[in-house]
């Protein structure tokens, strides 16, 4: 429980959660996470920006006591998801005079998610400001980064952007600063893949919108503070761009080794053709790593045997996730083997309505792969290489 002054009159009052290992009962957290909340003290008014996950409510309250806060005039809710807003009911009770600052979509959500009374709320519009006395907070609506109500708050004089989930990372860093950019780049990319990628075009639009601000520091609601905003903003420009990389991601599962042989042969064939390959054995895969690989790859090849009449459930899970995350993948196909029949390829195809990728001819064979099947795998590798050349990401070779 530590209060840190991150800029003059601006304090971090949130909580680290270094040993949390799962988010949304879905997303692995190899580095834990943090729920960052910030206190902004002007000459006349005080604002609290976001709260913390209810599991850490005591920590937020203790920090406010340590910071000797006797009045909060505004509680700003950038995002209604409970890992940031969950402690709002308690904070609103402790500071009965505080106005809860929300946009219209957020108002609807805090009423339904947290039972907040409308009378406590002050509804703001895009670019509205509040004056704390020498500190101006400007609200910028950034819908679908990653919910309908998401917004960011900009402290104009100090040039600090309180970006909530935008530019965040699940990373528990005691200094709250980026110590090693490489590590935070990876954690941020993973976070982007899991949380932001389904809304890539909205993220890109809002990146441009906040890009017009003169930002000195980005203080997100998860992970460390960026004191070199250009690094994370350039990374977001890259991830949200339409450019794909000369990479093939192969999420696969194998039961008796046939599909695995095909995956290994395809991996070698693609390597020989100058293509980067990222195979993921789904039995041992951290889905965050797989999501991160999907950010850039031009092609996905799903490797799965047929179980009973359809794809292996591990492959179904991966396909379902990929369809939800909607990466910018350009080409997709399926390889694998079946014993007596089934509808594996059709079932998988039907699971990907949101993907806008071109389907390449699958290599789906009966039994263990023989020499002819391995040649079919090489033909597939040729086809993938040709497609990568067509879109200009692989040289003539």
């Amino acid at each position: 429980m530590v209060v840190q002054e991150i800029a003059p009159g601006i304090f971090s009052v949130g909580a680290l959660d270094h040993d949390r290992r799962l988010f949304d009962s879905l997303i692995p957290l190899p580095q834990g996470t943090s729920y960052n909340a910030y206190l902004v003290r002007g000459k006349t008014k005080t604002a609290l920006i976001d709260t913390v996950d209810p599991a850490k409510e005591l920590e937020l309250v203790t920090n406010l006591v340590k910071a000797k806060v006797d009045t909060v005039d505004y509680i700003i809710i950038n995002h209604a998801e409970q890992d940031h807003s969950g402690t709002l009911p308690m904070i609103a009770e402790i500071f009965p005079g505080a106005k809860i600052v929300v946009n219209d979509k957020c108002l609807d959500q805090v009423k339904h998610l947290l039972d907040i009374e409308e009378e406590r709320c002050m509804v703001i519009k895009d670019r509205d400001t509040i004056d704390l006395g020498g500190k101006t907070l400007e609200f910028i609506l950034t819908p679908w980064v990653h919910w309908p109500e998401t917004m960011v708050t900009f402290a104009r004089e100090d040039r600090v952007l309180f970006s909530c989930d935008f530019f965040g990372s699940h990373y528990s860093e005691s200094t709250l600063r980026v110590v090693e950019w490489g590590e935070i780049y990876r954690a941020s990319k993973r976070y982007y893949a899991e949380i932001m990628m389904p809304f890539r075009s909205s993220v890109r639009e809002n990146l441009e919108k906040v890009g017009t601000l003169d930002i000195r520091m980005i203080a997100p609601s998860h992970g460390p503070i960026h004191t070199e905003p250009r690094l994370i903003m350039d990374a977001y420009r890259d991830w949200t761009s339409d450019t794909v990389k000369n990479e093939v991601v192969i999420p696969y599962v194998s039961m008796h080794g046939s599909t695995e042989k095909m995956v290994n042969h395809l991996t070698d064939a693609l390597r020989e053709r100058g293509i980067r390959v990222l195979p993921f054995n789904l039995v041992v895969t951290d889905i965050g790593d797989l999501a991160m690989a999907l950010v850039d790859a031009a092609t996905i090849v799903v490797g799965t045997p047929t179980v009973i009449f359809g794809p292996h459930p591990q492959a179904v899970y991966a396909a379902y996730l990929a369809n939800l995350l909607r990466p910018k993948t350009r080409f997709i196909t399926v390889i694998g083997s079946y014993g007596w029949g089934g509808k594996t390829v059709e079932t998988l195809k039907g699971m990907l309505p949101r993907m806008q990728a071109e389907l390449l001819e699958p290599v789906y064979i009966k039994g263990a792969p023989g020499a002819q099947d391995m040649r079919s795998i090489e033909v597939l590798a040729d086809r993938i290489a040709a497609k990568h050349r067509e879109i200009g990401i692989l040289g003539k070779g």
Partner: protein, 52 residues
Amino acid sequence: MDSYQCTICGHIYDPAKGEPSMNIQSGIDFSKLPGDWHCPICMASPDKFVKV
């Protein structure tokens, strides 16, 4: 009359069907939907829709 698709969640507004869950009858052009209309699936505003 054209159908429009939500670029956020993929939902399609088809004027021939209307939007029964929102009491929007069939036969209403996308441009004639009420001012506060939004995607019934993800709440996105009409500017997030593209013609399909």
